[in-house]
Symmetry: C2
Subunit: 366 residues, 2 copies
């Protein structure tokens, strides 16, 4: 099967780029002397997980559906990274009884008490806010010890995520965020130990901060995720280059307006997502960068300028619209690969060429 044989729109995963991205992160994290616990919320694929962890190890997931799926595919050591609710504990306990070792995350004293009360024996990490301002408590917040006491024997460690690293626009700012992430996690872990608690796991990481070298004293693991595939946003903030973007959307030309130098493609809001992350960077790519059918940037800075549910508007920067027949193929590099990939139920895998060498399913939903 060739790319030309595929129905459009669909996801194409370049396994050579994926392998390069994975190796780079394995090396970076090894240099930092910590374990890699990749976040599978981007790839949502056991095939990708096996490549990301060639020697095995633990994963991070964002949903119970992912936890169940990865456990069924042999990955039992899991942190469920989105804060847990009382109602979800039953399912976690069920999966753990089936062989999983799924740990959950909380930043709430009442929830910690619910975890401790739950008969399933689910272990939890305490979430620290290292500056993102989304979830977690401060590393010096007195409630840290309250939550730890509530958890008691269920306390498994400290968890933080420097998601605000995505807002850094230079190396100095990014390095400062990475150092704060490490410091706050280690500081919170130290406070727990001073109070007599065990704190075996000190888990941090985002794709940008995991690549920053420097002191990781007190840190046990890193949880990057988007590094596997990369996207235009990560390229714009310098986490990788555009040539590292491993996932693109294959689309067909369904309309053309020569006078306006416009094409319509069959990848719209559903196939690409409405994420426009690059708008906040110096490299605004609209709703995606348009590549040729081989995935090469031969169309220059041609972007998807507008989206409807199943239509995307391509504004050509060079070349004539007449060069594109109805049905001809383009590839779209996404602004935010996590959201674009989530619209699709599978990857059509290539090794850089036109031959589809594998089809890998994804686990979407909740």
């Amino acid at each position: 099967m060739k790319l030309d044989d595929l129905p459009t729109p669909c996801l194409v995963l370049d396994r050579r780029r994926l392998a390069r991205n994975l190796e780079r992160m394995v090396s970076a994290v090894a240099l930092l002397g910590v374990a890699l616990r990749p976040h599978m919320k981007t790839a949502k694929s056991a095939d990708v997980a096996r490549l990301a962890l060639p020697e095995g190890g633990g994963l991070t997931v964002s949903t119970l559906a992912e936890a169940e799926y990865f456990l069924a595919h042999g990955f039992g050591d899991i942190i469920l990274g989105a804060a847990i609710t009382p109602q979800k504990l039953d399912e976690v306990a069920r999966l753990n009884a089936a062989g999983g070792q799924i740990r959950v995350v909380t930043d709430d004293a009442d929830m910690a008490a619910a975890i401790a009360r739950h008969p399933g024996g689910v272990a939890a990490l305490i979430e620290i806010d290292c500056g993102e301002g989304r979830s977690g408590i401060g590393a010096d917040d007195p409630v840290l010890l309250v939550i730890a006491s509530q958890l008691g024997e269920r306390l498994a460690g400290i968890f933080t995520h420097a998601g605000h690293s995505y807002a850094a626009r230079d190396r100095a700012a990014l390095t400062a965020i990475a150092m704060r992430e490490r410091h706050d996690a280690a500081r919170a872990a130290g406070r727990l130990r001073e109070a007599g608690h065990d704190c075996p796991i000190v888990s941090i990481g985002s794709s940008p901060t995991a690549l920053i070298s420097g002191d990781t004293a007190g840190i046990t693991e890193m949880r990057p995720g988007v590094y596997m595939f990369g996207d235009l946003f990560q390229a714009a903030i310098g986490t990788h280059t555009r040539d590292d973007i491993a996932v693109t959307v294959l689309a067909s030309v369904i309309g053309r307006r020569p006078a306006e130098r416009r094409l319509l493609i069959d990848a719209g809001s559903l196939a690409l997502s409405r994420d426009r992350s690059t708008q906040a960077t110096a490299q605004d790519c609209g709703f995606g960068l348009v590549l040729d059918a081989g995935g090469e940037p031969s169309l220059g800075e041609t972007h998807v300028a507008r989206l409807w549910q199943e239509h995307g508007l391509v504004e050509l920067q060079s070349g004539a619209v007449e060069g594109f027949a109805i049905g001809s193929r383009l590839r779209i590099a996404p602004d935010h690969t996590c959201l674009t990939s989530a619209a699709h139920d599978r990857y059509y895998v290539v090794d850089g060429g036109e031959e589809v060498v594998a089809v890998w399913p994804r686990i979407n939903g909740w």
Copy 2:
């Protein structure tokens, strides 16, 4: 099963509101004296289609996956509304050979020739641009007759969509768009007939324009879709009221920050979509309007202010964060129900209350 028993995030469909919305459109289109060919790209559900067409009839779909699904559920009379490519004709022909009567749409002379050459005998409508500027040719464009000649016996009629009706902000502007939509479609059909072609179908319609009364001479059918569920954007432009919004996302509180009067919920970019249509209206609702667990607007103008992949940030306008335990439920009315619904694989159906009376699957993907 009650709403409280459901895993979150998930879609809740209020069948009473759905029925009211469906009846309103059936009446409006009957008054116009045309057939209703509802667009199923919003609901993507055979259960909804059966209610939308209590006496049977044709449907509109946006993908081949929808066409296959609805044919399998007894709806064979289908227009595939997104412009066709040569590669997709084989699948249309296969479905037609299996009992379907699927017609396609084109605005391209080369594509029309490909349709005429295809052995499957697929019929096509010619797409007219009545002012949206997305796809289609002008009603007076000379190429109309070229395309018609290319199609020959495969010509099934005229097709247009006043998608720019969504940009109208007052009744006068909307009425003008509706009249232009009807005029341009009838004008193009008239030109075809003058040139000796049959033009049995003259298909128009968007949810806002279908509700505008007035002359529909020459029009055979209307294709509204989003009217079934409604959303905050349609409420903001006056197509219906907020009380008509039939689909909401059920979410759980997973975090709370009393000092900032903020809650975190487990509905993020994936469960809600990143569509922010209401930003372009006088009623910006962020990424969604926050309702209580019963679906009532008791929280006032409380919005989802920010999204991450699996986290949504709720900024409370009144009431204390402490009133919301971790795990308590909220419902989110979406900006754009087509995109929000597409993130989910099923509807949990209620009749206005807490009891889940049915579970209806959706057909996503391509």
